[in-house]
């Protein structure tokens, strides 16, 4: 059967989360020459309808992007037990669904540490997208990382909103970033999908640093992008297709952390000049300590608090 993907409403070119998946899709198509059927729903109602349409027409596996689709995938997967579903960022307990989740707190810890090292004001900021536990997990990890490097650091945190639109509101992102800059922060991490574009723009405009998320976003504003907390959703999508092709696709929960290469920080030409050798060494050290378990990063979602 042909593979398919359903992006979430931010669309596949959000330069972030969905685009990451899209990169995985592209890579798979390039390698295997198999076209992946793509669908971008425009509203809640179309998610389920779109999934059904794909399932009815025999597409499998179907990768669904984002927690928003959890309930729709759950319903459709029940009705089509022979179709393989992979959901990214959501957990569904069904025999034909693979749930891929990431340890965002680990990656966020790493970039939080880097942010604190780069900060001259000892204040860093975090702009979240929609106010949900998943995004708080980013923020909490980031805060721990910053405090690990400088226990006196101030970590400002804002959420863009409480609806899905919060992942696609650069104007507000930019205003939130400016607000944080005016309160002293000089590095801002955006875990906010398309909203991040506004955050990076604001950092560029004000000569401050920003940290990208999900995809490697260092290229968006070279020179002021300190790094990106990459979340390898591309890999998740690619693996699903590849495994399905090989017959090794399995249902169940897949958890990807630093150790598995599921999350990481990004260093490339665009930000090489911003990261000194010393900083790099320190970050690598922290990274290996997390992998080895010497540093325990508290997961917000384990108890819905950020006490560590």
């Amino acid at each position: 059967a042909d593979p398919a993907v359903v992006y979430d409403q931010a669309g596949k070119f959000d330069k972030s989360f969905n685009e990451g998946v899209y990169n995985g899709v592209k890579k798979y198509t390039a390698e295997s020459k198999i076209q992946v059927r793509e669908f971008e729903p425009k509203n809640e109602a179309q998610v389920e309808q779109g999934l059904r349409r794909l399932a009815t027409r025999g597409y499998s596996p179907i990768v669904s992007v984002g927690f928003n689709m959890t309930s729709a995938v759950e319903k459709v997967a029940k009705d089509f037990p022979d179709v393989k579903f992979t959901i990214i960022d959501g957990v569904i307990d069904l025999p034909n669904v693979q749930s891929v989740v990431f340890k965002e707190h680990e990656g966020s810890f790493v970039v939080g540490a880097l942010a604190a090292m780069a900060s001259k004001t000892d204040a860093v900021g975090f702009v979240g997208g929609m106010d949900i536990p998943l995004i708080r997990r980013f923020g909490c990890g980031y805060e721990q990382g910053a405090k690990y490097v400088s226990s006196s650091a101030t970590v400002l945190q804002n959420m863009t909103g409480s609806t899905g639109a919060a992942f696609n509101d650069p104007t507000k992102g930019s205003e939130l970033a400016k607000s944080q800059f005016s309160q002293g922060a000089d590095v801002v991490f955006a875990a906010a999908g398309g909203t991040g574009i506004g955050v990076y723009q604001a950092a560029k405009d004000e000569g401050k640093f920003a940290i990208g998320v999900d995809s490697n976003q260092n290229h968006i504003q070279p020179g002021t992008m300190l790094t990106s907390m990459v979340k390898r959703v591309d890999q998740a999508a690619y693996n699903t297709y590849k495994d399905a092709e090989m017959g090794t696709w399995k249902s169940g929960i897949v958890v990807l952390g630093l150790a598995e290469g599921g999350v990481d920080w990004a260093l490339d030409d665009n930000n090489a000049s911003l990261v000194t050798a010393e900083m790099k060494a320190k970050v690598e050290d922290i990274r290996s300590k997390i992998i080895s378990g010497d540093i325990k990063v508290h997961d917000y979602m384990s108890d819905s608090t950020c006490t560590y």
Binding site: N158, M159, T171, G194, Q201
Partner: protein, 322 residues
């Protein structure tokens, strides 16, 4: 505290600039007797056209040109419906808003294949902030320095333009021949007609100005405040501008203050996020977000004084009953 206030006012200027432009646009339309709830659509249409133009030609000015053209075109559709064909102004406005909401996304998907966005603009494709002379030098002077360098300096040219449009509009409305005719046509089009002036021509010109100003507002959103077009990026600004227009009783200076108030509330909402207020606790962001809307409703309810608009507003000018 003072610094925080200045920074909030700074944000207020940024946020209220498009509101001011749109509200003044509405002022021209409504003073001429044309209700324009299509401000929203014109802003959105212009935001898209400006971003698309800027992206393709790499120049913010060209983008602005496209934005203005698109917005004027929409204003002319409104005119064609309301002036030439005596259509219902509100229905026409709703139609334009709806068409634009769909069309911008459709076209940008098709032209740029970026999920309904345009490419991110940078460099010359965007209006960047202008530092006023001596801003840096004066930055350290107490109070004045802060006001000058933080609040007044460092905005992009369209913000200054928006604020300049207020006295310009005042002058145009009250001191010129066009202004006299514009006001007259909104009050009693028959009087204007019998004075030998074409009602339709005055109204069309008013709508062209309305289109131009909305065009600048839209271009501001996508090429100055942001760096590209996004689906529904006007986010109700047209409606807020209309509310500000009523708030300001169709007069330029009070309209300015209404816009500043709304802008300030917006800036406040961002600041207030997660802040605990003694005695109340954390104010839900939504509560601050709805403030402008609630204020508008209260105003309309006559609690803040009766807003009486131009007399002939919303009524098609009909000479001959067929």
């Amino acid at each position: 505290m003072f610094e925080t206030l200045i920074l909030m006012l700074d944000a207020t200027m940024r946020v209220s600039a498009p509101l001011i432009l749109a509200a003044l646009a509405g002022l021209y339309a409504e003073r001429s007797g044309i209700v324009d709830i299509g401000l929203e659509g014109k802003i959105l249409g212009s935001a898209f056209a400006a971003a698309a133009g800027a992206a393709v030609y790499g120049s913010a000015w060209i983008g602005l040109g496209f934005g203005v053209l698109a917005s004027v075109f929409l204003a002319m559709i409104h005119g064609f419906a309301c002036i030439t064909h005596r259509g219902d102004h509100i229905v026409s406005g709703v139609a334009i808003n709806t068409i634009v909401a769909g069309l911008t996304v459709t076209l940008s998907m098709n032209w740029f294949s970026m999920g309904g966005q345009t490419p991110t603009l940078s460099g010359d494709a965007r209006f960047l902030s202008v530092t006023l002379p001596f801003a840096d030098a004066l930055a350290d002077v107490p109070v004045i320095g802060l006001i000058y360098s933080e609040l007044l300096s460092g905005h992009n040219i369209l913000v200054y333009l928006a604020f300049l449009m207020v006295p310009a509009t005042y002058w145009a409305i009250y001191k010129t021949r066009f202004g006299l005719r514009l006001r007259a046509v909104g009050e009693n089009p028959h009087a204007v007609d019998t004075a030998g002036i074409s009602v339709a021509f005055v109204r069309y010109r008013a709508l062209i100005i309305c289109g131009i100003l909305c065009g600048i507002a839209g271009a501001y959103l996508s090429t100055a405040h942001n760096a590209g077009f996004l689906k529904d990026m006007s986010a109700g600004k047209g409606y807020m501008a209309l509310a500000a227009l009523i708030f300001g009783k169709w007069r330029p200076v009070p309209v300015l203050f209404a816009c500043l108030l709304f802008g300030f509330l917006d800036a406040l909402a961002i600041r207030m996020q997660g802040v605990e207020i003694a005695g109340i606790g954390e104010v839900p962001v939504q509560a601050i977000e709805v403030l402008p809307y609630v204020l508008t409703v209260l105003l309309l309810a006559g609690f803040i004084g009766k807003a009486v608009g131009p007399k002939a507003i919303g009524r098609p000018y009909v000479k001959e009953r067929a």
